[in-house]
């Protein structure tokens, strides 16, 4: 069964017809070709499919597309600034070597964005906890931690 939903995706209002059995992840990837959001498990275990829904990190693979009706959704494609330049978080992931195969990266960038929006001065342990819903097999997480801590520090310094 198909159903029409209305939502905002990366700042643009959209009207989309979705299968009622379809996940938000499938809707984003297959109907809108927003393929930056990845699937690593399909059942909420890995965080590769993370998106922001009204500012909260959600695994889009276990979120029904129909639930997105009326929601404000940001995918990795909506994280860069409107002029195409990288967000500070993205830039630090690049500079600190936090990216290897990159398959987990969109999910990590999304989760980091939400984490730092909610807590602008997280401790190392709070970062670990905040990003523990995202799995990465390549990096051992060290350089991801570096990237996040660097962002926190830069933001703190720019406020001074």
């Amino acid at each position: 069964m198909l159903k029409k939903i209305n939502c905002i995706i990366n700042g643009e209002p959209k009207e989309i017809e979705v299968d009622v059995r379809e996940s938000l992840l499938d809707m984003l990837r297959n109907r809108l070709h927003l393929t930056g959001t990845k699937q690593g498990c399909g059942v909420g275990e890995c965080g590769a499919c993370a998106v922001l829904i009204d500012g909260n990190t959600i695994d889009s693979c276990i979120y029904m597309a129909v639930w997105a009706d009326g929601k404000n959704i940001t995918t990795i494609e909506g994280i860069s600034k409107p002029d195409g330049s990288l967000s500070d978080i993205q830039q630090n992931y690049v500079d600190k070597g936090a990216v290897q195969c990159g398959f987990c990266t969109p999910g990590f960038v999304i989760s980091t964005t939400a984490l730092l929006n909610k807590n602008d001065d997280p401790s190392r342990d709070e970062i670990r906890r905040g990003l523990s819903g995202n799995l990465c097999r390549c990096t051992g997480y060290q350089k991801i931690l570096d990237a996040v801590e660097t962002t926190v520090e830069q933001r703190r310094n720019s406020k001074k």
Partner: protein, 768 residues
């Protein structure tokens, strides 16, 4: 002259694409009217299919076809990502078919559905009816080798191979010994858990050939295996590899490509995609070999090893895949680390009914390192010798030939790794801390373990690589390699090599986004930590050739009055300069433009080389660890952990430390958490998902320290030796050794879970 690109922390070229979601992996590339394939998998672990009924499945709306073993090519093919061997005796076992009636593992591939949507394909899977004749199944070599066990593959007695490598005479050696020490240990079945599951799609191209776009580590090998699976000339296939979301050896095997091509063949060449679920990847692709070791070594009282006997039995699961090569590698790694004048390495690889074991980061070396390095620790205690001293007494040296691998090592930096590592780790200070903690009743311990590795597979396997360079009109360089970027950063490192050798900035060298067997020069792919070393040789050769051509062209295009006969030129920072005084001779961009567009002279400059590497170099290193065991919960807390590596010259320190950190993390969870387990009553995997299989999250990984001892190796193209797999080899034995130090009991089977620790502590309490 000072390096301009080698040894610098270059940012990887694809990082921006990856942080913005613009890097296209196999599943991100849209195809018009793509069908979706799904595999119907066995619900038993061993037996025969008596009947398959697909009639109901075919009625599901959207289903195009359902394939059974009778509908697909029935050629047997090998799957291992090994180069083709001209000697049939050395060929990989061809024991796979695309679909099978003979079920050898839970999840074996019986039928396949092709449908317009994934949902329709899934629904159809649920409607296929299969009747089985069930056989007894075996989860361990012990079971499949017992008297009267059924043969999983006919005529094999369930043994893939049984080999013995020997040096000297074992019995004489044992007679010379003052003390004999025995040690048994076990390493478990674990999985790669690369974040991108196996995914591929296939179609018939306009030229009538079959194209397979796939997430693979081995595009050129994959093409050959497709030829074998369909009994067709290899050139009829083209394999394309987009960005890959990790492999770690899981994709150094051909697991889904023949199937997806067969699916496309069944629908007239329309594109069909096959995208495995995580549960299928765990249960039905590849795992690491579980190996059990029985060891007996003879020592002199002063610590010298005089004899060593190792029996290694490797659980290969249901299909041969990489088979015996994995456990067989172990013997040469022992003799790379230590001199064992009388040595016997008896290895056996055995079929069972679990997931097929193939290549996984370290290729048998995490296992043998675990065996030999836990053994050395136990032996040191029995001999009353400091474990570092025991290692130093027996260590091999530079310029010695490995008696099993028959290759001379020109550098051997383990001694330096131990010295520098102790300092960096503050070993002496930690010894005091740990002693104080122990006094206070804490279960705190220190451990160390070493490893040896190889750079590529020579002389066991072919080592060939190719590189093509084109000088663009603006003086930039297009680089094409057959080596395979899967996230490890090889393309970035190759760009640095080209930049260094030609004399241009790194950002003037462009890599390919895909590896394509039609356009990328032949290279066997991403495995054996071979690429910086083996493919690096080809890259250097091509870069030298291009530079040579640039210098000749500069002379050909010398301006009037510019000396052209005797002048010695060089290229630096995109400028052709005079060597004598560094003055500008011509801009590289200007020269390139002339080579393209001068009406009468010059030609576009390219270099296209292929190279066979007939050398090997052994990287060394080790792990230092400081940890505490919680008496109540049995949990292990790592306070400090350091990996130190002798990988020769480090090409890119930032990316190199990233490799080490990733490998250490895999090694830590190998020691403490990970194991793919099976239900002994059904043969079904119990934890084939990311929730129950304990892959570490950010909360589980401590802060990691990384260090390098940079001894330039004369064989490596830039003084480098391999690095990708080594970091995974020594953390597990180091952690086990530290736990032994903390609790005073040797636990020899990993993973050392809290449950095991508590059981051991309880048993110890009872003894007292």
């Amino acid at each position: 002259m000072e390096n301009t690109a080698i040894g610098k922390s270059q940012i990887r070229w694809d990082a921006v694409a990856k942080v913005t979601g613009r890097a296209n992996y196999t599943g991100d590339i849209p195809q018009k009217e793509m069908y979706h394939g799904k595999i119907y998998r066995a619900k038993i672990a061993h037996g025969m299919v008596k009947s398959i009924d697909v009639s109901e499945a075919l009625k599901v709306p959207g289903v195009i076809k359902v394939l059974t073993p009778d509908d697909v090519s029935s050629y047997s093919f090998p799957t291992a990502g090994h180069p083709y061997s001209l000697d049939p005796k050395l060929s990989d076992k061809a024991d796979r078919k695309i679909l099978t009636r003979h079920i050898r593992l839970y999840g074996d591939e019986i039928a396949a559905v092709i449908a317009k949507t994934e949902l329709a394909a899934e629904e159809a899977l649920g409607k296929i009816k299969v009747e089985y004749e069930e056989y007894e199944f075996y989860l361990t070599p012990e079971e499949s080798l017992k008297e009267g066990a059924l043969e999983i593959h006919e005529g094999t007695k369930n043994i893939i191979a049984d080999t013995t490598a020997e040096i000297g005479d074992l019995e004489t050696g044992f007679k010379e010994a003052d003390i004999l020490i025995e040690h048994d240990c076990y390493t478990p079945t674990v999985q790669h858990c690369q974040m991108e599951n196996q995914i591929a799609y296939a179609y018939k191209d306009v030229d009538g050939r079959w194209v397979c776009v796939t997430s693979t580590q081995i595009p050129h090998i994959c093409r050959r295996i497709l030829g074998q699976a369909f009994g067709m000339p290899w050139g009829r296939f083209r394999v394309i590899k987009p960005f890959v979301g990790g492999g770690f050896g899981n994709k150094q095997d051909v697991t889904i490509e023949p199937m997806v091509v067969a699916m496309s063949m069944a629908v007239g060449g329309k594109p069909v995609m096959l995208d495995l679920h995580r549960e299928e990847v765990f249960a039905c692709t590849r795992v690491r070999h579980a190996i059990s070791y029985k060891m007996k070594f003879g020592f002199k009282n002063d610590g010298r090893i005089v004899a060593g006997d190792i029996l290694a039995i490797s659980n290969n699961g249901a299909y041969a895949s990489h088979g015996h090569a994995v456990v067989a590698k172990g013997g040469g790694m022992v003799t790379a680390l230590y001199k064992v004048p009388n040595f016997k390495y008896h290895a056996m690889t055995v079929y069972t009914n679990i997931a097929a074991a193939g290549a996984m980061r370290g290729y048998g070396v995490p296992q043998i390192s675990y065996a030999i390095e836990t053994f050395m620790d136990t032996a040191a205690r029995k001999l009353g010798i400091d474990p570092f001293d025991l290692r130093k007494i027996n260590m091999t040296k530079a310029m010695e030939e490995n008696p099993l691998l028959h290759m001379t090592q020109y550098t051997m930096g383990l001694r330096e790794c131990i010295e520098q590592g102790k300092e960096r780790f503050q070993w002496e200070k930690r010894v005091e801390e740990v002693a104080a903690a122990k006094k206070a009743g804490k279960l705190r311990g220190l451990g160390f373990a070493a490893f040896a590795y190889t750079s590529g597979t020579y002389p066991k396997g072919l080592e060939a690589a190719g590189c093509r360079l084109v000088l663009n009109q603006d003086g930039s360089i297009k680089m094409m390699v057959g080596a395979t970027e899967i996230g490890q950063g090889s393309d970035t490192v190759f760009r640095q090599m080209v930049a260094e050798t030609v004399g241009v900035p790194v950002d003037m060298v462009y890599a390919d986004q895909v590896t394509d067997t039609d356009t990328s020069p032949f290279d066997t792919g991403a495995y054996a930590s071979r690429q910086t070393f083996v493919s690096g040789m080809a890259v250097k050769k091509a870069a030298e050739e291009l530079k040579e051509k640039i210098l000749l062209a500069a002379l050909e295009f010398a301006e009037e009055g510019q000396e052209a006969e005797t002048v010695d030129l060089d290229v630096k920072d995109c400028k052709v300069i005079k060597k004598s005084d560094g003055s500008l001779y011509t801009e590289l961009g200007d020269l390139a433009l002339k080579t393209y567009y001068h009406l009468n002279k010059g030609i576009c400059l390219t270099a296209d080389v292929s190279n066979k590497c007939i050398q090997n170099a052994y990287p060394y290193g080790g792990t230092f660890v400081d940890l505490e065991v919680d008496k109540v919960t049995g949990k292990v807390k790592i306070y400090n952990i350091l990996n130190i590596h002798d990988s020769g010259v480090i090409i890119n320190p930032l990316m190199a430390s990233g490799q080490v950190e990733g490998g250490m993390t895999m090694g830590i969870s190998y020691a403490l958490d990970e194991e793919l387990r099976y239900d002994s009553s059904t043969g079904k995997p119990l934890n084939n998902n990311l929730l129950d299989y304990k892959m570490p999250t950010m909360m589980d990984v401590p802060d990691l320290m990384v260090d390098f001892v940079e001894i330039p190796d004369p064989i490596g193209p830039y003084g480098n030796k391999s690095l990708g797999e080594p970091p995974n080899c020594s953390p597990a034995p180091a952690i086990r050794n530290a736990i032994a130090d903390a609790i005073g009991v040797d636990i020899n089977a990993i993973p050392i879970t809290p449950q095991k620790i508590i059981e051991v502590l309880n048993a110890k309490d009872k003894e007292v």
